[in-house]
């Protein structure tokens, strides 16, 4: 079970109050976690990564275990603490704008 924390606007969009808990088939990577997230919450498609290129949207970052994972390859394994559900996978919106 993977724990995912969404930015506030995406929690509202997906109608979730707190963190999201996902069962991810196979190895837990950014791609597999986001695939599972979008499968459960299709309204999030296109809001975290581009629907065609699958690239992370520029003003979002991925963090876990106090590490910035934003530039990791999408198929790189996530830290064990994320895979085991001890630590959440955080999707963070850049602090910018008005």
């Amino acid at each position: 079970m993977i724990r995912v924390i969404l930015p506030a606007h995406l929690r509202t969009l997906a109608h979730v109050g707190g963190e999201v808990r996902l069962d991810v088939e196979g190895q837990a990577t950014q791609r597999s976690v986001l695939d599972a997230l979008e499968a459960h919450y299709p309204m999030l498609r296109g809001t975290i990564r581009d629907q065609v290129t699958q690239q992370r949207r520029p003003f979002l970052r991925f963090f876990a275990c106090e590490q910035d994972l934003s530039h990791e390859l999408p198929d790189a394994l996530l830290p064990g603490a994320v895979t085991s559900g001890v630590e959440p996978f955080l999707i963070i919106a850049a602090i910018a704008g008005g």
Partner: protein, 371 residues
């Protein structure tokens, strides 16, 4: 008695303002989609409770929301806008080729007859269509592909397709406008397009009478005379009496002919409205006086409408999609400002009052006259 529903898109959400036919008391609901930019929302004339909204953000991209109950509840529908084929390039601000990139939906135009069919004008400029209530979107590629697309260039606000006019007498005919490419028309339901910019004159481009390259801000049409078009260009107010084949300037005695909005009275096809803005470098009303100008002669002769509008220290703008009219016997006129006011006139512009004063900056205003 009829009711009025005003759909307001702002920088930080959507608002729905409702009143009965007297239009003196208003209920305000919102913000819907709080914190998101709502470039435009519009209802279907075939089913007034079917609404579409363009919701976007610099962080999370584009969403399309749909309501089937007049805006009480909403649900996201499809948001996958993919250009047809290899997108190619248009010109960047410096004249170099720049790849077409989808950024946002500026304008949603529901079909006049089918609530499930809706058109989307997007940035970078293209026209998309959905025939399944917004679930899926397909580009009408003949517009970008008609030959001049590689020469289109963005205006200061981006290269946006912001105006979509559907001819009520001919379902094959549509007009669209792009900043800063110009106006285009199709006569075969979007398969092929051609520019309709003859008569436009834009001093800031290398060839002031070029086929494309004009910064058209808005076009308006009266449903009873779809061959007559009115245009607020970057500078100049124009009209065409031949479906865009040629244009004549009708700026007349306006204090400035720069502006964004233009609209037509619901029952008087020669009565039109603009809001003059000082200049392209100072986007606020001349002399700090917010004045709507009305022409009852289809242009050239204009009268300022000031009653109820601030006549001093007013430095708001009125953006291109932020004016609309209702169709009650005494035509109502509505516009929103970047200062967050939505003004309404229940007497065709003779007098005005704010419906609401302190919304986020208003991006769009649409009006529904409900039975």
């Amino acid at each position: 008695m009829s009711n009025i529903r005003v759909l307001v898109g702002t920088r930080k959400g959507a608002f729905i303002l409702t009143s009965n036919g007297k239009r003196d008391r208003w209920d305000i609901s919102g913000p819907h989609f709080a914190g998101w930019e709502i470039y435009h929302l519009k209802g279907s004339s075939a089913d007034p409770d079917r609404l579409y909204a363009s919701q976007c953000s610099g962080w999370f991209g584009q969403l399309i929301q749909r309501s089937n109950d007049g805006g009480k509840t909403w649900a996201p529908v499809g948001n996958k806008f993919v250009y047809d084929g290899v997108p190619g390039t248009h010109q960047w601000y410096d004249g170099t080729p720049h790849p077409w990139e989808f950024k946002r939906v500026w304008h949603l135009e529901p079909s006049l007859t089918d609530p499930d069919t809706v058109y989307a004008g997007v940035e970078d400029a293209a026209l998309f269509r959905s025939a399944d209530g917004g679930q899926t979107w397909q580009e009408l590629p003949g517009l970008r592909g008609h030959g001049s697309g590689s020469r289109w260039q963005p205006g200061a606000g981006g290269m946006c397709l912001h105006t979509i006019l559907l001819d009520p007498t001919d379902p094959r005919r549509m007009f669209i406008a792009i900043s800063a490419a110009g106006a285009f028309r199709t006569d075969d339901a979007g398969k092929t397009w051609r520019p309709i910019n003859r008569g436009l004159h834009s001093q800031h481009i290398p060839d002031p009478i070029a086929e494309v390259g004009h910064c058209v801000h808005r076009i308006a049409m009266h449903h009873s005379r779809p061959r007559v078009l009115f245009m607020q260009k970057h500078w100049d107010v124009m009209r065409s009496d031949d479906a865009g084949e040629s244009w004549q300037e009708v700026s007349g005695n306006l204090p400035t002919d720069f502006g964004f909005v233009i609209d037509v009275h619901a029952h008087e096809p020669e009565t039109i409205y603009v809001v003059p803005i000082k200049s392209d470098s100072e986007h606020y009303p001349p002399e700090g006086k917010l004045r709507v100008y009305r022409s009852r002669t289809g242009g050239k002769e204009w009268e300022p409408l000031t009653k109820g509008l601030p006549q001093g220290d007013c430095y708001v703008n009125v953006l291109r999609d932020a004016m609309a009219v209702d169709s009650l016997d005494s035509c109502g006129v509505y516009f929103g400002t970047t200062g967050g006011q939505v003004y309404a006139s229940a007497d065709a512009g003779d007098s005005w009052a704010p419906i609401v004063r302190d919304l986020p900056a208003v991006l769009s205003v649409e009006v529904q006259t409900l039975p």
